[in-house]
Subunit: 291 residues, 2 copies
């Protein structure tokens, strides 16, 4: 092989166990900036497309992000009856908002991202994710998610918590009891809240903590799974809470109504109604751990 | 932090794209040997337990191997009607045989592993996997899988191809048309063959090639998915072929009969009848690619 064929630069992510590491060959450095909140890096790779990292942790691989973003958005939005108003907390790359806007009933979506620079960088360098942020239905608020919810009495059909991991940078306070209770109080009856809740391989204690806190805050809660090869282990969990309507039975997260199936946006690449049901099947090692 | 708290040794796996890498901190070297077929390494890690690597590729992480071994064994064995005779090709660590023996109908199991040293090393250093190899129902044959099948007319209820990856060492000839046809010819009517067929992130061309070859060799074939965090991307595929019985309808891989559900071995940690059905739900990006 030509000695110069490969790039000599590597990105190195330290996984949460501090003893396992992912290295990615960098074909081109695109953008780096130290903001008041975190270090943003954007770089190109041959195998994964463009990558966004915050404080050295991969947030988005352009080639695989659809799996994560479809699962964090479509599972809760399909459980909602015709969601109109959606709040995304975190998610500054725009991928979660992009998926939410595919639901024709959505009239407005707010992105509440603490770090304006993430959104600006995504607008410039990650257009396949961020293009949705210029949709007229979208507003961006650059504020801490807790402060935003405390400062407003607006209610939502769905709140999607697309945070960084709880041990890194600014994500931690989005994993508290108080925050989940605040989310519940800002949902309309029949509304849903979902949070990415890490993986059972490298970060299982936080996964369990977050799931249990959501289960404590919401009368009806569940957890579902999806492949997410952009993240450590690829084994991703999402925890979901539901604010009941008076006199209503508990919703069956697992099974969509035929009407809901007809509402699934076209041209998705990961999510289907069958994947929806399959995602709620939890292996015994995991349900035992969460119990 | 104490400068000596962490081990200065790392194992480094080059993923199939040659541009992504996994590094694991090694807490203790256990065993290394260069055999006539490959390099065997066994080492301990804090996060993943004991690890077996062949030619620098992780084959087994003791802490997570149950997901892979339960899925490669129980899905096909549950599809069989009361499997009696099972052949495992590869799988020298013993994990697949261990799972197969949990089915009470299994009367005999042969492990056909080309490299005797892998089995010997597993017997000494990976007892939680290899203990099954001393079960009186098990015979070990140290021979190439193709040669073994050609040299014997014995037929099997299930053939489980637990090979290394097709681009590494000795695994490649277990991914050929001729080999899959040979497996089909050595199945009883109603028998099944399954192969691990890599992942859609780092090795998608081989995954597709293997799936298509199995689909060409068998009148009824399918693919199913499972989380396998010990392997690159964690997104693992298994391809399955079924040898029909005369006059029989195509089996429904997805749905187990109530009788089959009652036969599921107790105390599994990943596999359930619901996980079985969920595993056959394939995201559109993958079914489109395989079509």
């Amino acid at each position: 092989m030509n000695r110069n064929e490969k790039s000599p630069f590597c990105f190195r992510e330290v996984y949460q166990d501090q003893r396992s590491f992912l290295e990615l060959e960098v074909s081109r450095w695109v953008y780096s900036r130290e903001t008041s909140f975190q270090k943003i890096d954007i770089f190109d790779t041959v195998s994964h497309g463009r990558v966004l990292a915050l404080d050295g942790i991969v947030q988005t691989m352009e080639r695989w992000e659809f799996m994560y973003h479809e699962m964090i958005a479509h599972v809760p939005l399909q459980i909602c009856e015709r969601p109109k108003h959606v709040l995304v907390i975190g998610g500054g790359d725009g991928g979660t908002i992009r998926e939410a806007l595919k639901h024709p009933s959505v009239e407005s979506a707010v992105l509440c991202e603490i770090d304006r620079d993430v959104v600006e960088a995504a607008k410039t360098y990650l257009p396949t994710l961020s293009h949705a942020l210029s949709d007229p239905r979208v507003s961006c608020v650059f504020e801490d998610g807790v402060a935003y919810l405390k400062g407003s009495s607006q209610t939502w059909d769905a709140i999607l918590i697309d945070s960084t991991d709880p041990t890194a940078g600014e994500g931690g306070h989005l994993f508290t009891d108080a925050f989940y209770a605040l989310c519940r109080d800002r949902l309309v009856p029949g509304g849903v809240c979902v949070a990415q809740t890490e993986n059972p391989i490298y970060d299982r204690e936080w996964m369990r903590t977050a799931y249990r806190r959501i289960a404590a805050a919401f009368p009806t809660a569940g957890i579902y799974l999806g492949f997410s090869p952009q993240y450590p282990s690829g084994f991703w969990t999402y925890s979901i809470g539901y604010r009941s309507q008076d006199g209503q039975n508990k919703p069956d997260f697992y099974q969509l109504s035929p009407e809901a199936v007809r509402r699934i946006p076209p041209h998705l690449r990961y999510y289907t109604s069958d994947i929806h049901s399959a995602a709620f099947q939890i292996p015994p090692f995991l349900s035992d751990y969460l119990a």
